[in-house]
């Protein structure tokens, strides 16, 4: 890993650096506007649409795509699939950054962000779904932080603390699975309170199940998608084990994703049948629902299966990207497109450009922090002092 030589000749002002710099400057300006002028100055939110892009994309999509952490650690530590071990640290890092950015984004969306800890101290009861989501996200962010710490501790040379944290791996993995199951499904359950606002094709008593199962698909696909990108941009940071196990991880996760997608497709169809919503399929919303169901669920399910059968690595990577896009489409459909569907178009929500800037700002921060950590800490390679230990 002669990264010094590889990075020494890289130009400081690459297209990525320039775009990231512009987004960061714009994001910083909008941040000042948001916290001085309030939500009205920077968003199109209203009493009809209190949840916009910052909840639909930053929170719902962010949490779903961060599911790779619990999916991968459960596969490796609980189900004993040690051949996927090299994927654990990148997945945990993505999960930790994903959840950290979700909480960061909530500071923009919540009218009075200093009240974020209120559910734990000032509240009317613990039966609220939003309390359940808040409690699980706070606890799981803590769990992910502890799961992530062995990498910085190895980097900083704190052997004793690192060894103590590694001993907690199984406990943390079990906690991660429990907390993720609870809040991934609860995010879907939040919409159960609005049966008259959400379009019948997306509204279902099974929404918590849909959200949880699709989060597993998101997690599996995100690990493949991110692994492909990491192989392209951080190739020099990977050790032999990572490079050797890369294909195993991709094909193993692709097979799992194909299987879960088949199950997800089935329960979505059953969801339509249970409420007898077949007649809505012939409407405009029905066409869009079919695009989501056939284009972003059935198609990737088939493509993953073909890619695994033919041992086609590039098809696996493209399908993973397409599936991740499908999860984005699904979460935006539930929270924005199919929400308040009966309202006249003048009352419908479309994000303000400043909301889009903040979402891009948060994604950019995530990418930059990911790059900072991966280029310095033992994420895609083993630290020489701990060879074969974790």
């Amino acid at each position: 890993m002669s990264s010094e030589h590889a990075t020494a000749h890289k130009p400081v002002m690459s297209p990525f650096t320039i775009v990231a710099g512009i987004v960061l400057i714009l994001g910083a300006l909008v941040t000042v506007l948001r916290f001085t002028g309030g939500l009205a100055a920077t968003t199109n939110l209203s009493d009809y649409n209190p949840w916009g892009l910052w909840i639909g994309f930053d929170l719902l999509v962010g949490v779903a795509l961060a599911a790779g952490g619990f999916v991968t650690s459960a596969a490796v530590y609980i189900f004993g699939m040690k051949r996927y071990h090299s994927a654990v640290r990148p997945a945990i890092l993505t999960g930790f950054l994903g959840y950290a950015l979700v909480v960061f984004a909530l500071h923009y969306d919540v009218g009075q962000p200093w009240r974020l800890p209120y559910p734990f101290i000032v509240q009317s009861g613990t039966t609220s779904l939003l309390f359940e989501v808040g409690a699980c996200v706070a606890l799981y962010l803590t769990v992910l932080f502890i799961e992530f710490t062995p990498a910085p501790l190895e980097w900083l040379g704190f052997k004793r603390v690192r060894n103590l944290v590694v001993k907690l791996t199984m406990l943390l993995t079990i906690l991660g699975v429990i907390l993720s199951t609870l809040h991934q499904s609860s995010l879907g359950a939040l919409f159960l309170i609005a049966p008259s606002k959400l379009h019948p094709l997306w509204y279902s008593g099974y929404l918590p199940v849909f959200f949880f199962v699709s989060a597993i698909i998101a997690g599996l696909s995100m690990v493949i998608f991110e692994g492909g990108l990491a192989h392209k941009y951080f190739h020099d940071k990977m050790d032999e084990t990572h490079l050797r196990e890369k294909e195993d991880v991709a094909f193993g996760f692709a097979k799992a994703a194909a299987w879960v997608l088949a199950g997800y497709f089935s329960i979505k169809v059953i969801g339509v049948a249970v409420d007898n919503n077949w007649s809505y399929l012939a409407t405009g919303y029905g066409a869009w629902f079919l695009v989501e169901l056939l284009g972003f669920v059935a198609l990737p399910c088939f493509l993953y299966a073909v890619a695994v059968r033919d041992h086609n690595m590039s098809l696996v990577k493209y399908t993973a990207g397409w599936t991740v896009l499908g999860i984005v489409v699904n979460r935006l459909n539930v929270s924005l497109v199919a929400f308040n569907w009966h309202l006249p178009s003048s009352e419908r929500y479309f994000p303000h450009w400043m909301e889009i800037v903040i979402s891009l700002f948060i994604v950019t921060i995530g990418v930059l922090v990911f790059r900072f950590i991966v280029t310095r800490m033992p994420i895609m390679h083993e630290h020489p002092d701990y060879h074969g230990e974790h």
């Binding site: 299987w259 088949a262 169809v269 059953i270 049948a273 007649s279």
Partner: protein
């Protein structure tokens, strides 16, 4: 697909009937999909 229901019982009988048929088709479909998915799997041990 439009069907007129007079009672909740009518509705439940109709929708449950459709769901049971779907589940049967899904179970058969899963077997077919599993064999398609593992069709050329190099890791699969010969029987």
């Amino acid at each position: 697909m439009e069907y007129h229901f007079n009672t909740l019982h009518d509705f439940m009988v109709y929708t449950k009937g459709v769901v049971y048929i779907l589940i049967l088709a899904i179970l058969i479909g899963f077997v077919a999909f599993w064999s398609f998915l593992n069709g050329r799997d190099p890791d699969r041990k010969p029987e």
